[in-house]
Each structure stands twice: as structure tokens, then as C-alpha cells.
Symmetry: C2
Subunit: 427 residues, 2 copies
Amino acid sequence: MSKTPIVEVINFGDELLVGIRENSHLVYLGEQLARYGLPIRRSRVITDEALEIRRAFLDAWNYSDVIITTGGLGPTADDKTRENIAAALGAELVFDPEIEAAIKARFSLLGYTMGKDHLRQCYRFANGEVLHNERGTAPGLVYAKDGKLLIMLPGPTQELTPMFEQLVLPKLQKIGALSAEEAYLQIRTCGSGESAVEQTMQPIVKANPELTVAYCVHYGIVDVRLSPRERSMPWEKLKAIGHEARELLGDDFVCFGHCSLAKVVVHELRALDRTLAVAESCTGGLLSNAFTNIAGATKFFVGGVVCYSNDVKVAQVGVPESILEQHGAVSPECAIAMASGIAERLSSDYGLSVTGYAGPDGGDDKNPVGTIHVGYHSPVGVWCKSFRYTGGRLDVKTRAVHAALDWMRRKLRQYKVEEFLCCGERD
Amino acid sequence: MSKTPIVEVINFGDELLVGIRENSHLVYLGEQLARYGLPIRRSRVITDEALEIRRAFLDAWNYSDVIITTGGLGPTADDKTRENIAAALGAELVFDPEIEAAIKARFSLLGYTMGKDHLRQCYRFANGEVLHNERGTAPGLVYAKDGKLLIMLPGPTQELTPMFEQLVLPKLQKIGALSAEEAYLQIRTCGSGESAVEQTMQPIVKANPELTVAYCVHYGIVDVRLSPRERSMPWEKLKAIGHEARELLGDDFVCFGHCSLAKVVVHELRALDRTLAVAESCTGGLLSNAFTNIAGATKFFVGGVVCYSNDVKVAQVGVPESILEQHGAVSPECAIAMASGIAERLSSDYGLSVTGYAGPDGGDDKNPVGTIHVGYHSPVGVWCKSFRYTGGRLDVKTRAVHAALDWMRRKLRQYKVEEFLCCGERD
């Protein structure tokens, strides 16, 4: 394909329209296609009804070059996508004994017999290709006409994902619709708001009009995505611009790509060969969970205590009762006692703690709802930092976890210097 | 409106097409509208480009009755939705001094001066209404013509949500497009797969052809949504059918509505006036987090230990070293020791524990990756139950948490009988 084709995605599924399920296929396909330089231009969600399918599909076929559909290929009477799209196109569907053989083989492997419902899944376009489904019965279907391309994928995620990555991506690369290399660079930042990051990025944006720059904010993390407008920009050039941006962003720079803050912290701990334990009150397990989402984190993350009640803070984390009495559980003093206490109790080098009011109840004049104190215990000292957030309980919890992880990440990088300065004091 | 209007949602935003962000507005609007009997019929996501907006909008305007747009109303040059939709409709936009005054007032409250960029946000349709934005600058816009209705909402969630609930829902109810009462009944189940639940529901589906029945599966939970095809069905009738379904579903029935499994467990603990502590290995904080997501759970959930390493299992949870040596950390014996140990250490009435291999590493012939052992300690005894799941690390963690919570929920309901049977033995 000479020009950049216009890609449209059509998702079938009533559950996407009545608030039952997120359209995760669109996120996935959008990410995959953008990564190789072919952003989705438009998308729609439609119900699996004959007239609706025909009308919407024809509108898409008239105005787009590559159409990718998801869903509606199942064996039940509800699934009418295949037949109605063929009717809209005036294309013939033919029974394919090879598909039947593949479905039969799959069923026999699972110890079942193929029912006649599944015969509907054995049809393909008369001049079309079949995409083998290694995780289910419905094969994907491909149809090309007048320079346009239709790719129909099954709805279940575990079937769609391998089919797309193993069969569709190479096909699109082969016809030149996708580039073989990654087409954008993502920079993850934390610590400044979206507008401050935009401000910092201004020199890069001005100096590189051939780039589009997009921002995405999630709970204190601001991702910056740099995409060349033309596919001709070499990857090396994009990387060089990325490194310039990194310089400008300073300590706010977290990583290139999609690494979680917890992963960055674990990466630093691995380099230092040190261990961490956490004590958390209002985040209630979410901070530990961020670490245990990382496969193999067990070598650096020894565990944690969710000390929701004061009794547990005293008995399991070793917070002195006098601190709770004098300063209360939501205080910098308690955060510090929790960080040092958990490191001692769990015999780790580092301790990280969070205490605060996630809301909607709790809080007082000095520490209103949304107040978060983070404690950090390290071999070179103990610190506390306080934050204040607005939003619902779950928002405050997530932001508190990001704040704690981001602060520890900064402290660990700072520590590399300190380690040098005070190396005589330790060991 | 006499017939049920066809609703179409148009979301503006390139970030929805390139995998940066989920279309959470569609989920939200779909849920809100379906709740009051007006399911969204179709939706599309389009980029904020003049020609694209005009073409797609006109297609929508021709085939739908109520069109709701989100996004594209911001003050920057990128935001061209207002002007292009007006051009597509051939409708005039007029400057509204009242909008200007509202934006100025908002800025002055925040200590800023209104910039001239924001003047673009002061326009409304010549014969249209304005929806006040209490959380941002861009007002919502309403335009009606030839029995069709256009509602334009701002993109930021914290602006869209209150505007929709406080201004748009009542407007749609007033014109009869939405019913005043909730229009569907959701039944949450856990413990059986989707096809088994469908099988169980067959007598209800057959006896009530006036209902549509939809299923949604998430990590072991199967939600069943019963919606009357006609709005004339009284709520009392729907509730009666719901109770019939509850009988058929037996112990798999969790609740009517959207209550989390953790909330159901806390509800039972509240009724018993008892407390719970948890010890978790492979779920790494996610089980504790499920409880601490509930506001006010602190009275029944005292805390937990994330005992990721064996040292922490011994030192903080009291698991005997001999059990770890003989049976290993991933064993029913260890799960039971964790459940009893955490209840004793944290002085709670109940203890719940999870140990297993979340993957991708770990596991052996006896306990392959995906094996989960759940321990349950209660005043009347200690039990273990084992599960095995496939999927990625995060999937296995989430399913393990649901399995543990569902099992505790069942045990607690069973316990009410046991409490009666063995009341002479305790106290």
C-alpha cells in the first residue's frame, strides 16, 4: 500500500453498549497498530442485528481502507456477523472442509464431539483467506476487494490476541500497511502535573514539528508519547529526541516505555542487592500488591503488613503506643515509626509505609480526608513526606501508592550518591 | 417521546484510538442509560478533525434520535467539535454573556484571570440550551430539531458525571425517553461457570419471554442481567422473577446488584459482630485491598500480613517451620497454618489465607502454576480448599481473591446453622 491506509475497527457486542464491559479490544488493537505506525482512524460499536450490521458495515467499507471487526463469529443463533457482512458486500460464503476438520480435531482433543451448531463456523469468503484459531473454534476471516481489506476476528480475548499478533500483524507488515519497527516512543513521568510536563516539553515540540506529542494522565503518572508524522523518521533519531526530553524532565523521568513505578523500584533494589518490606494503613494492601504483580519480585520484596487497626500497628509493626497517643495514627511520626518498624520486624534493608485518610469518613482539621503520610526507612536514614489528594476512596488509595513508589524511586537514585558519601558509616 | 428513541454516543478523542485510554465514558453512559431503560444502540469514536466530524456526525444525525457526544469542547485549537457539528447541522452558534460570566466567576474563585482562549467556550446554539458545568469551564450544549436531540458533554470525567446525572438524566426522564424507575435487575453469582449459570436460568428464560437475559463473566463472577423488553413491566414483577432465579441459583447467588464479594463477607461479619484478619502469599495484598476498598470496613477487618517470603510466614504469621519443611509453602497444610496463625497473631475471630503459584515461574508436578490453596479459620473449625486456574499472573491473583472471598461467604452462611448446632460447645 502506497499511502497510509485508513483503519476502522468495528466491535460487535451489546455488552459494550449497556455498561457491562469495557471495550478492551479497541484499546489492545489501538496500541498494537499505533506501535507500528498505523493509528486507528475511527471505530464503532454496533449490535448484532441484521439491518444494523449491513448499514454500518457499508458505511465503513465506503470510507475506510482496512476494516477490522471483532466478535459475532460464535456458533449461536445470536451471531449473525459473518452472514450479514457477506450480504452487505455481495460476497459468497463457501463451506470449507479444512475449517470443519480443524474444529473437529479441537473438539476431539478436548474429549467432545462437534455439534451441528458449529457447522456455521466452517464458512469462509469464496475468495478469502482463513486465519487459524489456535485457542477456539471460530477461525478469523480475510476478504480483499478493490484495494480494501476486511479482517474479521473472534471476540474472546484469548483467541483474538494470538491470532492478531501471529497472523494479522505480519500480514499487514507484508503489504506495507504497517512498519516493521516500532513507531512511537513513550516516556513515563511522575511528580508533575500534565500542564507542567507539557511546559517542560515545549522546546522539544517546537524543535521537532515532524512529531506529534500526546499526553495521558493516570493517578499522578503522566505519559508522553512521541510519534513521527511520517514513517520515514529513523528509530535512532526518535531515540535521540527521547533522550533530550529525558534531560529536560529531570527527576520526573521514570522510564521509556510502560514500566510500573514498582518495577522501577525493584530494578533499583536489584542493582543494590537490597530488600524491602512495607507497612500500609489506608492503602490497605494496594502497595504490596504493586510489588507482587512483578514476577520474581520475591527476591527483593519480603512482604508487608496491612496494619489497618492501631492494635496491629503496635503488635505487628512495632509502632510505639506513645506515638499513637501523642500524634495519632495519621501523622508523619507514625509513618516514620511504621517504616522503621516494618524493616526491623521483617529484617529488610528498606521499609516503606503509608498512613492517611482515604475517605469518605475520617480526617480532622489538621489532616483532612485525602491526607497521606509516606514513611521511608533506608540504611542511611529515615524520612517522611506528606501529600494531599482529592477524589474518591479508590482514587486516593491509587494516588497514595503512586506517590509512595515515586518518592522511593527518587530517594533510591539520590541514595547512590549518599552511599558514596557515607560509606564509612555503614557496615 | 412515544417510541423508544435510538441513542447513539459519539466519543471524541484520539487517545481512545491509539491504545492510551479506555473508553470509560461509553461504559458509564451505557450503564446509566440502560439502568433507566434506554440502552445505547450504537457508538463511535472519531478524531477531532473537521471533515471527519462533519461526515460522521451527519451519518449519526440521520439514523439516530438522541445523540450524546463527549469531549472536544476544550479551549485549545485542537477542540473543533462545537464549530464543526454546528456547521454540519447548519445551525448558528451565538456568543452567550452568561456563559462568559460563569467562566469568569470560576476563574476568579480559583485566583486566575480568564484568558481569551476560553472565549470559544462561550458559544451555544442559537436556539439551544446550556448545561452549567460546576467542575470546569466548558458548558454542555443541547440542540433539538425535527424530534431529534443533540447533547454535547465535556470530556473530563469529573465534569461529565455530575452534568449527566444532575441535568441530562432528569431532562431525558421529563421528555419520556427514560423511565423514572430502574429498568433492569442484576443478579451476581459466583461458583459456577457462565454456561452452567445459563443452564440454571433456563426455566426463568423460558417462562418469561418478555425478558432479555444477558451474562457477563469476570474472574469467576457471573453477573446475570434481566431486562424487560417493554417498559410496561412493573418493578415488583421483575423483583419476583429475580427471587425465583435466586432460588434456582442456590448457594451461587451472591447478591442483587453490584456488591463486591468482600462487601458481602463484611456484611455477614457485621451481622455476627466478628472480626477478620488475612494472611496472603501469592495474592500479595490484593485480598486485603478488597476489604480496605470498603469504607468503614475497619470495624470488621483488622488487617493482614503479606507473607511473601517463608521467613515472614514463620515470624509474622506463626507458621511452624516443620510444616514448611514437610509440606512446602504451597500446600493445604500451610494455608491452614496461615489462617489460624494470622487469627491468633492479630486477635481476630476469623482468619483467611491464600498461598499458591501465581506464575509465570514456580510450581511443580503436584502444585503446577495456577494452584491456589485457601485456608479458613473460624470459631467452629479450620478448613482448606484448593483451586487451579489458568491465565497470566494478574488473572490468577484476581481469581484466587474471588475464590477465597466466595468460599468464606459460603462458609459464613453455613456457619449460621453450625452456630446453632454447636452453641453449647463454645463460650
